[in-house]
């Protein structure tokens, strides 16, 4: 067995085993078995790190691919296999998933202490980790879809973990159903690819697409359908509505699933299937614009939210929009790089907010304030993450966001029509800095607005703060990947399909022209600083009153505060339509069907004498006949199974005689 193959097996096996042990025996183990999943994910992390360094440092080859596949079964002409596809992107994703997952596991030891169903929580976490790792490691569309659904299920279970709360139960249903809408498109997309190409394996599909086996409008539709899956899972407009509600789940879950890993699965999928996506420029534009809309409009919503987790949720939606836009304009490396950096700092922000919530027992920022002194570790680590997401130089977010902006500027410079993409993202970057610092100022600075809560607040235990510090470190050093053309930029490049595509792939990446690069960098620093300054003036110095501004522009404020009424819009349209249709059907039953019955009544009355006779002799007769037949079958079967052996033997004799007779005399006649 090859080393990579062995590593992949080990990485997958530990969480799966932990899930099985935990779900069946967790309750009976000491400490409710929480150490089993934690130990398992740490083992996965260990082997993940080995894999990462072997691939990134050891191989150090942009075109490195390791593939192994095992036959599963063949259905007609289709061969269903499963296997591993390991390249640089896989290695990076494995690192992200195992690191964030282990950190969240450890954090949960403190955060979930004493909750009901403590053991089950860890079982679900293991199931999720396994599914996500499978999603990253698998080598074909079939397994991709299976693991795609598996992460969906585990997300459903974890969002609804507090299932006795109505809001949580509603949220998990909403998340599941909304993402299903995207999944259906994803499934159609996979079916289209398989229908035209007849293969599931990534490499074979890519080669077939490169050879033009799937082209034209069919390809465009297939790609848009595939992208539909990403829209659902990565909470892109217009299916983003589930993610803010998903914050009903425990905070570690929000950090793991709804910030760092599962929501990034959509982006990862687009990246993984990039050779198919990039074959259709029209579909790529759809991707870019959906991303842009999401990035900008989620950022504007985040400005006015008061629930700390909801701010972070909309921020996540917005950042996912950045990644999707990057992939849409062809900046493969930049988009996936942002995926990695974002995973670290957003997980950190969520875990930090969890720490705050743990201390003050509320999600509402207006009830917080002045927590800086009480919770120094939480404050400093969250500040680092905030600097990173705002795109301040020397933090990880700067490198990745700058790369995205540069790529979109370059895209805008070649196609002037698409300049709005760059402008929207740039403005969005400013807004991001503004609302993130708003969060910091409202939570940690100023005077304590609710002294009672403030007095009880305390720094969280080490099991929670150590993960914060680890992630804070990663949020800083994660940025070095792109500086000076270090490994990420060099290694994570679009896969090369055949020789012909080799030159085409060269132009992509985050290099860009010098003008685009430095221009974007300068502008992005400018906008980030602007956002931070504005936030400082409004929420720290109170030079500008937020209420006054809100009062001046009530329309804009309400649009943002009510999230553009998208939920209400769906309630009034899609859901209302379903409910209306249900009413229509009920009415159809009531009015039309019953009406027909009522209308025919007089007519029937006219012929009632006939009908009476008909009923009596034919209908009743039929009903009675059925009853008689059923009874007879019962009677016959008891009669047959009389328990008397002579009887049985006689029946065998009769049967043999009857068959012989039937065969020789009756069948012969026909």
């Amino acid at each position: 067995m090859h080393t990579y193959e062995l590593l992949a097996w080990l990485i997958l096996a530990f969480p799966l085993l932990a899930f099985v042990i935990q779900i069946f025996f967790g309750k009976r183990l000491p400490r409710q078995g929480d150490w089993v999943p934690v130990a398992a994910i740490c083992c996965s992390l260990f082997f993940g790190l080995i894999l990462f360094f072997m691939v990134i440092v050891g191989e150090h080859d942009p075109n490195f691919v390791f593939q192994v596949s095992y036959p599963w079964f063949s259905g007609g002409s289709l061969q269903f296999d499963w296997g591993f596809h390991i390249d640089n992107l896989t290695a990076v994703m494995i690192l992200v998933v195992t690191v964030v997952s282990s950190v969240v596991h450890i954090y949960s030891l403190g955060y979930m202490q004493g909750e009901d169903f403590y053991d089950r929580f860890f079982a679900y976490l293991s199931l999720f980790s396994f599914s996500m790792l499978l999603l990253v490691l698998c080598d074909n569309l079939f397994i991709l879809y299976i693991s795609w659904e598996l992460v969906g299920v585990s997300s459903y279970l974890l969002i609804g973990f507090y299932f006795w709360k109505h809001s949580a139960a509603d949220a998990c249903k909403k998340a599941f159903i909304t993402t299903r809408v995207g999944d259906v498109f994803f499934f159609i997309g996979i079916l289209m690819v398989v229908l035209y190409i007849g293969e599931f394996n990534y490499t074979k599909v890519f080669e077939a697409v490169a050879h033009g086996e799937l082209t034209g409008w069919v390809l465009t539709i297939a790609v848009v359908c595939l992208f539909g899956g990403a829209v659902g899972k990565s909470a892109q407009f217009p299916l983003h509505v589930w993610l803010p509600d998903a914050m009903e789940g425990p905070t570690p879950v929000s950090a793991l699933i709804h910030a760092a890993t599962m929501v990034a699965a959509g982006v990862y999928m687009v990246g993984r299937l990039f050779p198919i996506f990039s074959a259709s420029p029209a579909a790529m534009l759809v991707v870019a614009y959906i991303g842009l809309i999401t990035a900008f409009f989620a950022a504007t919503i985040a400005i006015t939210q008061t629930d700390i987790k909801r701010v972070l949720a909309y921020s996540t939606v917005s950042q996912l929009g950045y990644m999707v836009t990057a992939l849409g304009v062809g900046a493969y490396t930049a988009g996936l790089y942002h995926l990695m950096t974002h995973a670290f700092f957003k997980a950190l922000l969520f875990l930090g907010s969890g720490s705050v919530i743990h201390a003050v027992h509320t999600n509402e920022m207006p009830s917080m304030g002045g927590l800086k002194k009480k919770m120094p570790i939480t404050f400093w680590t969250m500040l680092i993450a905030t600097l990173a997401i705002s795109g301040v130089p020397f933090f990880s977010g700067f490198g990745s966001k700058d790369a995205i902006l540069a790529a979109s500027l370059e895209f805008g410079m070649t196609h002037w029509l698409h300049m709005p993409i760059f402008l929207g993202l740039l403005l969005g970057a400013g807004i991001t800095a503004f609302y993130m610092f708003r969060l910091i100022f409202l939570t940690f600075f100023g005077e304590a607005r609710e002294p009672k809560r403030y007095d009880h607040a305390h720094e969280s235990p080490y099991s929670m703060t150590v993960p914060l510090m680890i992630l804070a470190g990663l949020s800083v050093i994660g940025g070095f990947g792109l500086y000076g053309g270090l490994w990420f930029n060099h290694l994570v490049v679009p896969p090369v399909i055949g020789d012909a595509a080799h030159h085409a792939a060269e132009g992509h990446g985050a290099h860009g022209s010098a003008l685009a690069h430095y221009g974007a960098m300068a502008l992005s620093i400018l906008f980030a600083t602007g956002g931070i300054l504005l936030s400082y003036l409004v929420y720290y110095k109170k030079k500008i009153s937020a209420e006054a501004v809100a009062g001046r522009f009530p329309v804009l404020y309400n649009l943002s505060f009510h999230k553009y009424w998208v939920d209400e819009l769906y309630g009034k349209t899609v859901i209302a339509f379903v409910m209306w249709f249900r009413m229509v059907l009920a009415r159809f039953d009531n009015k039309v069907v019953d009406g027909i019955v009522n209308a025919t009544a007089p007519a029937l009355r006219g012929v009632s004498s006939f009908s009476g006779a008909w009923d009596k002799y034919v209908v009743d007769g039929l009903v009675n006949l059925i009853a008689i037949v059923v009874q007879a079958v019962g009677a016959v079967s008891t009669l047959i199974q009389s328990g008397v052996i002579q009887n049985y033997l006689m029946k065998v004799g009769i049967a043999v005689g009857a068959i012989l007779l039937l065969h020789n005399f009756i069948l012969r006649i026909f």
Binding site: W72, F73, H663
Partner: protein, 495 residues
């Protein structure tokens, strides 16, 4: 091949023979003392050794043994493995079962092993005399074992019914065999086939009568309608390990007998390959006749099961229904059909033995084989409840269990054979069967139990149950290896 050379191919049967002697000898040293079942251990060891030597014989090419009396081909090898595996499992079941705690357990094992030899010979016989002798060897043993719990009245009753019913059925079958001999003047399969190929027109009636009379014997073994009457009574009355053995191994023998005898005398392999056709000028639609029997068997089996409350009786009817499903594959007379049958038999082996093991656990721990025993089982012993659920799902044919794949192959074979009406009957029957299997699942998980007291399952039973259930799941997900194996085994020796 001559007699002496043939012995090297006969190692598993020889090992079993030696094991029988050792078991009888071991029985003389009282087993009560140490508590360990010495004869049982010997029988277990013997059957496992036989199984190992059998696997070792696998790679040998197909050939005729003992001057053409029996054949060594993939088909017989498959069934030998099937029966040996069954014997190992049933021996283990018996060793720890409370039902057959009996001073004369040594007799029990030695009879079990001789039945196994008989079964192996049925699957490989190439001669009418041989096949009849082998059949009697296994039948006589089965009669004794069915009545082994002599203290219980219904066990005696079961045994007596079994003897009478079996005696008449095999007698009728013997009449069929003698007609076949009379028609062709030979007891050797290849000679019979040669004579029939060159026979003149006008023997249709004789051929059909022979077929029908043989079918009485075969139908009795596999419990096919209208020869199934004994099954519910005997299954209910016998000690449960024997019921398990009858429902799997005995049924398997019936199918081995049917395929071996029918496919190599009245049928001949088509030169086009892939299917069998009538020999000579005989013009009878075998497929139709067998298909009707198949449809009747599964329908009556499933309808009968609906109102049963005794689990053994219910599983008896379910076994009748499964004989019907298996006949769907046999009646096609194609390679694909045979492969499906072999695949399904393997699935059936694991699933049914596991289901009966659950019944044994019920009987041993609470002396209850009715629906009452399984009520609320989930709360009392979750592992057994989950295992039983998997078995029942497999019997229904739900994914991801092996039963689903087995049914899938059967239906694919039916569609390829263009026997659409039978496929529809089969699907409808599956739906009916859902009702009574799901009733057990419902009772286990959702119905209140009369006591919350947990059931302590013997560790050997727990291990055995796991060992039987894991393949059911495994082959439900990774069935390709088993499918390839079935394709490999579905080849009879041809002349």
């Amino acid at each position: 091949m001559g007699n002496v050379e043939s012995l090297s191919y006969f190692v598993p049967e020889l090992i079993l023979t030696v094991a029988i002697l050792i078991v009888l000898f071991a029985d003389m040293f009282g087993m009560e003392r140490g508590g360990f079942d010495l004869p049982g251990g010997a029988a277990l060891l013997g059957s496992i050794l036989a199984l190992i030597s059998h696997v070792w014989l696998y790679s040998q090419p197909a050939t005729m043994l003992f001057e053409g009396m029996i054949a060594h081909d993939m088909f017989s090898a498959f069934f030998r493995g099937f029966f040996l595996l069954c014997t190992v499992v049933v021996t283990l079941m018996t060793m720890y079962s409370m039902e057959v705690i009996h001073l004369k357990k040594g007799e029990f094992y030695s009879i079990l092993l001789s039945i196994c030899i008989g079964m192996c010979l049925v699957a490989s016989a190439q001669n009418l005399i041989m096949i009849y002798l082998a059949l009697e060897l296994m039948s006589l043993g089965s009669y004794i074992l069915a009545g082994f719990s002599r203290r219980i009245g219904r066990s005696e009753e079961a045994s007596l019914k079994f003897v009478l019913y079996g005696g008449v059925s095999t007698g009728v079958m013997l009449f069929g065999l003698s007609l076949l001999y009379g028609l062709t003047g030979s007891t050797d399969f290849s000679a019979i086939q040669q004579v029939l190929i060159s026979s003149e027109k006008g023997i249709d009636l004789t051929a059909f009568t022979i077929f029908l009379l043989i079918l009485v014997g075969v139908g009795y073994k596999i419990a096919a309608v209208p020869f199934h009457f004994w099954a519910p009574d005997v299954y209910e009355g016998s000690p449960t390990p024997i019921t398990a053995f009858l429902s799997v191994a005995s049924k398997g023998t019936g199918f081995a007998l049917l395929i071996r005898l029918f496919y190599s005398t009245l049928l001949t392999r088509s030169p086009a390959g892939g299917f069998w056709v009538e020999v000579g000028d005989i013009d009878i639609d075998w497929t139709f006749h067998l298909a009707v029997i198949s449809a009747l068997t599964m329908t009556i089996g499933n309808l009968g099961a609906i109102s049963q409350n005794n689990l053994k009786r219910l599983l008896a009817y379910s076994g009748i229904a499964h004989a019907g499903y298996l006949l769907m594959g046999v009646c096609l007379l194609t390679d694909v059909g045979l492969q499906a049958v072999i695949f399904y038999l393997v699935v059936y082996l694991f699933t049914n033995l596991a289901a009966f093991l659950v019944v044994i656990i019920m009987v041993d721990t609470q002396d209850e084989e009715g629906m009452n025993g399984v009520r609320g089982l989930w709360a009392r012993t979750p592992i057994v409840a989950v295992a039983m659920t998997i078995c029942l799902f497999s019997l229904i044919g739900l994914p991801p269990t092996a039963g689903f794949v087995g049914k899938y192959y059967l239906f694919v074979a039916l569609l390829q054979g263009k026997l659409y009406w039978l496929a529809i009957v089969g699907v409808l029957n599956t739906v009916v069967s859902l009702y009574y299997y799901a009733r057990i699942v419902k009772a286990m998980f959702f119905e209140p139990t009369y006591t919350e007291e947990p059931i302590r399952v013997h560790p050997v039973y727990a291990g055995l149950l796991t060992a039987l259930v894991v393949p059911v799941l495994y082959f439900g997900i990774f069935w390709d290896s088993l499918a390839r194996y079935a394709r490999y085994c579905a080849s009879l020796i041809t002349y």
